[in-house]
């Protein structure tokens, strides 16, 4: 079943402040199930902007966006939140872990929000995910007791907890040194190969991009 997980049709986006600037123009993009895609481009080319539109967090655009065949135009904010919760996993440049909770709870939170599994099952699933990423030993620590690379891996585990259709990354290795970048990349690769996880990663690291299945290069708001 090689359907499109995500489909963008003629997406345009303008910034209005202080003057009207077109940042994206007529982007057409389709992501198939199981693809490992990287978006590269220079700073300011609109790659992050595109990612946030694709992630449903930015709804102020022209054109159409279908996620898992569902058009997200005119959806309510709470419906979009549900789509993000169920179908999209995020990894950002910064880990955004909640220091008040243990690593395990941080991973569990999106799952608890979804409410598909009981807390017991979720805990088990969270352990599984942490095990895949090799950090199950840190599960009961607080995020501020972990190293940068470990934090980022916890963030990936959190993105995986609801078995999302697609994982989106905005410079996920941007803050990491070479060794940790390598670890994170190999995790992505493993997810793509072994678990057929769809991944869409924005990066400016060409070396990183070259090892993905498909590279989308952007320039001045267009796909090159």
């Amino acid at each position: 079943m090689n359907t499109n997980v995500l489909e963008a049709k003629k997406i345009s986006k303008y910034f209005y402040d202080p003057v009207k600037v077109q940042v994206l123009s007529n982007i057409d993009l389709a992501v198939k199930r199981g693809e490992f895609i990287s978006i590269i481009g220079k700073s300011g080319c609109g790659k992050s902007t595109l990612l946030y539109i694709l992630s449903t967090m930015d709804t102020d655009f022209d054109g159409e966006l279908l996620i898992d065949g569902i058009n997200i135009k005119n959806k309510k904010e709470s419906e979009l939140a549900l789509i993000r919760n169920q179908k999209i996993g995020f990894v950002f440049q910064f880990h955004y872990l909640l220091n008040e909770f243990s690593v395990l709870r941080n991973v569990m939170l999106p799952g608890q929000k979804l409410g598909k599994y009981s807390d017991k099952e979720l805990e088990h699933r969270a352990y599984e995910k942490l095990k895949v990423l090799g950090i199950e030993k840190e599960a009961l620590k607080k995020p501020n007791q972990l190293s940068g690379g470990e934090k980022q891996r916890v963030a990936i585990a959190r993105a995986l907890i609801n078995d999302p259709l697609i994982i989106m990354g905005d410079e996920p290795t941007g803050n990491l040194d070479n060794k940790n970048s390598e670890i994170v990349f190999s995790i992505f690769q493993e997810l793509a190969q072994n678990y057929k996880q769809t991944l869409l990663i924005v990066t400016h690291d060409n070396e990183f991009a070259s090892r993905t299945h498909r590279i989308i290069e952007m320039e001045d708001g267009r796909i090159k």
């Binding site: 992050s48 967090m57 930015d58 939140a81 910064f94 008040e100 409410g115 959190r158």
Partner: protein
């Protein structure tokens, strides 16, 4: 919605800033404490002052008033009956103050289910004779037992036994101030003269202290028989019927009814003592105003702390939203925080408020004018506690409303991109 999850997140955010949370909660606690203490004390004071009047005054007083006839002969004339007639210098008719058929009226009142009791009374102007000097006074002839039952007469007899008034013939209980003037001791015999010139010796069996100095200078009490003897009237003569009601609020309406039914003047307590009601009302109003002001100030404290928390937790809010928490969820999280502060602080406030009230209740308060009061009066009305907790919840809700709305409107893209 998964309330447990919202609760969990709220609690951890709260505990993460527990010092600030504590300060906010203490603000609420303090204001609720003061609110409860203030209202309990004020209400206790009001009740005490009101009871000075309410317990001692008839709810409805039936009496005859000397007044000009409402219908003048000309009104009965067929020729001029429909015209406007102006008659000057009308004099009251020669009428006795006695209530006619008092026994029948009392029986009728006793069978009225709205009435809790009646007591007859004779009011007579007298002069207390001290040597060559005459002091004006008023003697109330009372049915001693009925008076005590309805108006706790015993409470105001500071010296002597009230029942002696009934058991000792020709006895009198003097107002304390009047007795001091006359240098009359218990057991002394004083002379009183009626306006008609009849003179009678009366034995002092007690002192009476009402709390109103002016009243105590003139008022004194005898039994109804003694008063009748003093005035030289028959055993059926009474001038007032005092009615005590089960529900004081229906007094004005009932007074109107009795006025027509018995063809007497009927004065209800609300009309007779309207200034007391105004006083109570203003005191209550001030206490509420102060209490609510305190709460609003506490509310601003909560508002500030939540605002600060939202700025600090901007990242957390952004990631919660990115991972699928809706604006409404975020809103609920911060409202839960605000309300927990409100409920926790409020409940503590109720407990401390009760404690402070209990302390005030122990403070000695002795005043000559209020013989029955030994400590400051406090009203432990559960109503204040209910209002207190409701207010604390409502204020914290509104204090949390705007910060929560702001948090729910945070755009995760702006936060995440800004990093």
């Amino acid at each position: 919605m998964n309330f447990k999850l919202i609760k969990d997140i709220s609690i951890s955010l709260l505990l993460a800033r527990w010092k600030q949370t504590l300060v906010a909660a203490i603000g609420v606690t303090f204001s609720i404490t003061m609110f409860i203490a203030l209202l309990s004390f004020m209400s206790g004071l009001n009740t005490m002052l009101d009871s000075l009047i309410i317990n001692r005054t008839a709810h409805v007083r039936l009496y005859n008033e000397i007044q000009p006839s409402k219908q003048q002969p000309i009104d009965l004339s067929k020729q001029f009956g429909k015209d406007h007639n102006f008659i000057r210098s009308v004099k009251p008719k020669d009428e006795r103050l006695e209530i006619y058929n008092a026994g029948a009226i009392m029986n009728a009142l006793k069978s009225d289910t709205r009435v809790s009791g009646t007591a007859p009374k004779i009011t007579a102007q007298v002069f207390y004779n001290i040597g060559t000097i005459d002091l004006t006074g008023v003697i109330n002839g009372i049915d001693v037992e009925a008076e005590n039952k309805l108006f706790t007469f015993n409470d105001y007899v500071t010296t002597g036994n009230y029942i002696d008034l009934k058991n000792v013939p020709n006895s009198i209980i003097l107002g304390k101030a009047a007795a001091d003037k006359m240098l009359a001791k218990i057991g002394d015999v004083i002379q009183v003269t009626t306006p008609r010139g009849e003179r009678m010796p009366l034995k002092v069996v007690g002192y009476f202290q009402s709390g109103l100095q002016e009243l105590d200078k003139v008022q004194s009490y005898t039994s109804i028989n003694t008063a009748q003897k003093l005035l030289g009237v028959s055993g059926s003569y009474i001038t007032d019927i005092q009615v005590k009601l089960k529900d004081i609020n229906i007094a004005p309406q009932l007074a109107k009814e009795y006025r027509q039914l018995f063809n007497l003047e009927a004065l209800d307590i609300q009309t007779a003592n309207s200034q007391f009601e105004t006083g109570s009302f203003i005191r209550t109003l001030i206490s509420y105003a102060v209490g609510i002001t305190l709460l609003i100030v506490a509310g601003f404290g909560i508002y500030n702390i939540l605002n600060m928390m939202i700025y600090e937790k901007m990242d957390s809010i952004a990631i919660l939203k990115a991972t699928g928490f809706s604006g409404a969820d975020v809103n609920r999280i911060f409202l839960t925080i605000a309300l927990s502060i409100g409920v926790f602080g409020g409940i503590l406030g109720l407990i401390f408020g009760f404690g402070v009230s209990a302390l005030i209740d122990q403070v000695p308060f002795v005043t000559a004018s209020l013989p029955t009061i030994k400590t400051y009066p406090v009203d432990y009305n559960p109503k204040f506690y209910i209002i207190g907790i409701l207010f604390s919840i409502v204020t914290t809700y509104f204090a949390g409303y705007f910060p929560s709305r702001k948090a729910s409107k945070i755009d995760p893209v702006i936060i995440i991109r800004g990093k």
